[in-house]
């Protein structure tokens, strides 16, 4: 018995080491940038950070020569990567580089087209097949039809006119259009996106393309009055392309990039483009139809971070850290023992003299249903305080129903 147990242990140990080696090296990503009418110097490092924080990617940045430079010197070895991110809107690549890119995609390489990445290369037919829809660069009816939704029906409109437009930057509601696609599955059906340019009037071949999400381009914001496609999944040869028209970058990033909706769909889209599947879970701070959700430092929330913020909470502040805690309890705690892991951390805040009463009130409400006898002493203590009496009694009534 003992020997078998040891073998199991060794095997488990090897598996852990194997997993550790896998982590972070599952996929290599290359962010292609260096020319853009947008702030590529801010966006590319953010995209790199966001990809690497999934634990699935190592990401590198390939900078092209400056505008007007010798593009013959720009020859990334695409074949070394699982996914190429296009944060580029500039001079044409050399024929050699174009051919290498087409070969890469044809052979099953993944691509993520990011924001103004759908502005570039209007003359390059193969590239436009990959992105499906594009804008600006004198794109018009010669490049393909407009695509948009009217009353939830997809309209393919070949009428004459410019390709590419956007109104003022603003927050807008994104509507999932294909809820079964791996990138979208499990996300809310609607969510509010951080203030961004809402690309409109994109047009192109639109072949082998699934529209994953769209947003209404409001005429009051200088938009088209159409429901415009913003997230697309395409195939080209054996390759997969995720096209996000979102994510307009300021010098320091800004709300469109800080938006958890942007970050999450970008991360999921990159994994799908690299592998055809999505293994990432939907983060608890994903926005909903009630409002946007931003991450000022692009980092995911943590339980410790949540509790630290809740301990400083007052009723004028954001409740997002508490919402995050609630989601963790809802989805991560499976057994009463799991509940107690959370409860013990929450009790520490309740016992802390530094923690605010408003923060304690939030925690006590949650403890009222998921807590246990562990919380009773601290609740009895807090019930002696005028500020916390009602809510502590509320929780005690639930935890000690006999009384």
């Amino acid at each position: 018995m003992k020997k078998q147990y040891l073998i199991v242990l060794i095997f488990a140990g090897l598996l852990t080491i194997f997993n550790a080696c896998q982590k972070g090296t599952a996929y290599k990503a290359l962010i292609v940038t260096g020319q853009n009418n947008h702030n590529w110097k801010s966006s590319s490092p953010i995209l790199q950070q966001v990809l690497e924080q999934t634990g699935l990617f190592t990401a590198e940045i390939a900078k092209s020569p400056e505008k007007g430079g010798d593009m013959n010197t720009f020859n990334p070895d695409f074949s070394k990567y699982s996914v190429i991110v296009i944060d580029y809107n500039g001079d044409s690549w050399s024929e050699k580089t174009k051919t290498a890119f087409v070969d890469y995609v044809n052979n099953g390489g993944g691509v993520v087209v990011y924001h103004a990445g759908d502005n570039t290369f209007p003359e390059w037919k193969e590239y436009n097949l990959m992105i499906g829809l594009g804008g600006w660069g004198d794109r018009n009816e010669k490049d393909g039809p407009y695509m948009y939704y009217r009353h939830d029906s997809l309209i393919v409109d070949s009428s004459a006119g410019r390709g590419g437009n956007h109104g003022k930057r603003h927050e807008f509601e994104i509507k999932a259009r294909n809820t079964e696609h791996p990138i979208i599955k499990g996300l809310p059906q609607r969510w509010i996106h951080g203030a961004d340019e809402l690309y409109a009037q994109l047009r192109g071949p639109g072949k082998n393309m699934e529209i994953l999400a769209s947003a209404y381009s409001d005429t009051a914001k200088g938009g088209t009055g159409r429901d415009e496609p913003l997230l697309m999944a395409l195939s080209y040869g054996k390759g997969r392309i995720f096209h996000t028209a979102l994510g307009h970058a300021d010098e320091d990033g800004g709300p469109a990039l800080e938006c958890v909706g942007f970050i999450t769909t970008f991360q999921r889209g990159a994994e799908w483009a690299a592998s055809g599947k999505v293994t990432q879970k939907v983060p608890y701070d994903f926005p909903t139809m009630t409002g946007s959700s931003l991450r000022p430092d692009f980092k995911e929330l943590t339980l410790e971070g949540d509790l630290a913020k809740i301990a400083q909470y007052d009723i004028t502040k954001s409740t997002k850290y508490f919402s995050d805690l609630q989601s963790r309890i809802r989805y991560e705690a499976k057994t009463p023992a799991d509940f107690q892991i959370f409860e013990k951390q929450m009790i520490k805040v309740l016992e802390s003299a530094d923690a605010s009463d408003d923060g304690k009130k939030l925690l006590i409400r949650e403890i009222s249903w998921m807590g246990s006898e562990l919380s009773i002493p601290v609740l009895q203590e807090l019930a002696k305080r005028e500020q916390l009496k009602d809510v502590a009694e509320f929780a005690l009534a639930r935890l000690q129903p006999a009384k």
Binding site: P188, Q189, T288, T290, G291, S293, S318, S323, S327, R330
Partner: protein, 435 residues
Amino acid sequence: MLDKSTRRDFLKRSATVATGALILPQIIPSTALGMGGKLPPSDRIVMGAIGVGSQGTGNMREFLKFNQVQFVSVCDVDAKHATNAKGMADKTYKNTDCRTYGDYREFLEKEKLDAVTIALPDHWHGLIYTAAANKKLDVYGEKPICRTIKDGQTIVNAVEKNKIIWQTGSWQRSQSNFHHAVELVRNGRIGKIKHIEVGLPNGNKGIGTPPVKEVPAELNWEMWLGPALKVPYRGVSHWDWRWILDYSGGQLTDWAGHHIDIANWGAELEHTGPIEISGEGVYPRDGIFNVPVEYDFLCKYANGIEMRVANSARLVHGGGATWYGEKGWINVDRGRIEASDPKILQEVIGPNEIQIYKSNNHYQNFLDCIKSREETITPIQVAYRAISVALLGEIAMTTGKKIQWDPAKEEIIGNPAASRLLSRPYRQPWSLPTI
């Protein structure tokens, strides 16, 4: 309360007499016949209203159309609401007689009524429905009839014990398309029911975290909160209480008394509940509104039927109740009835088939039942079973767990944490009576 039941008996008796010949001498002096052809006092139903905001005055407006109703008093924690409602009654009767109250306890103590119409935020239903029933008043009560399962059980007990007539504001039952759909389903026109989908409105928008404000002079905020936990006033009371979990479960619980109720009616699930509930909600990430804005849960019943309840955007048929039978489906929503085969809708229900309780006017149905002492089209027990589905779904989504429910004992099985969510403790000095 003896005089009250005597009075009821008299109402009932005179109704019977009216259908026969006039045998008894006419004991009501003709001077009691008011202006505009009003009925004599003995035939009138004396009513008051508790909660006269938008829904409360809406109900009052309907009742004021009936000659047999005499509205004598209104009660609201917002003095402007009360004054406005008094104005409606006084205008109808061309007098200034309607009395106003700010505290329902005083209202119930002083007023001598036959019936009361009640439209309040859900967190007040447990106390005030029970208090009205204990006063032996017949009640037209707004859905959802309770904020928690425990509140609901208490209200049902109070209504049954006091033998009052109860009508729920589930007015879709008195609409012909819903009646038609239910009658077709009950008579097997789509075969044996396999599963049901109930689509309720998509969630509300957020308003973030509005600043704390001074309570308006006309509003008794302490009384508005009542048994709920004390929170500062932020200008959110009327109407928008619907998006805060302390007072409501959002669109889900608001609409349970409509489409879940209709679904139960058609599938004969009105007197039972699911045995297993599981699903997920999408909750706002920030701000004071915290009800789920998207929701999707599945209820399994002992007879094998499954009912999916979701925000309408998630369902093929969108809103309303959809029954899927072995032979087809029927979907019914406001202003609409559709079927897998349009011929199903042309089917006529024969005299020997199942005839469903018919009402053409939800308010009239209540008034008729006050006189006849018959059950209304939406008695308390079925209203309780409709909201129970939503409240159990809410618990499954809150806890993120699959809930096992015993619909006969009305208990959650083997999940103490979830069981705690079956009630909301009341803030002192309020407490829910045991009945």
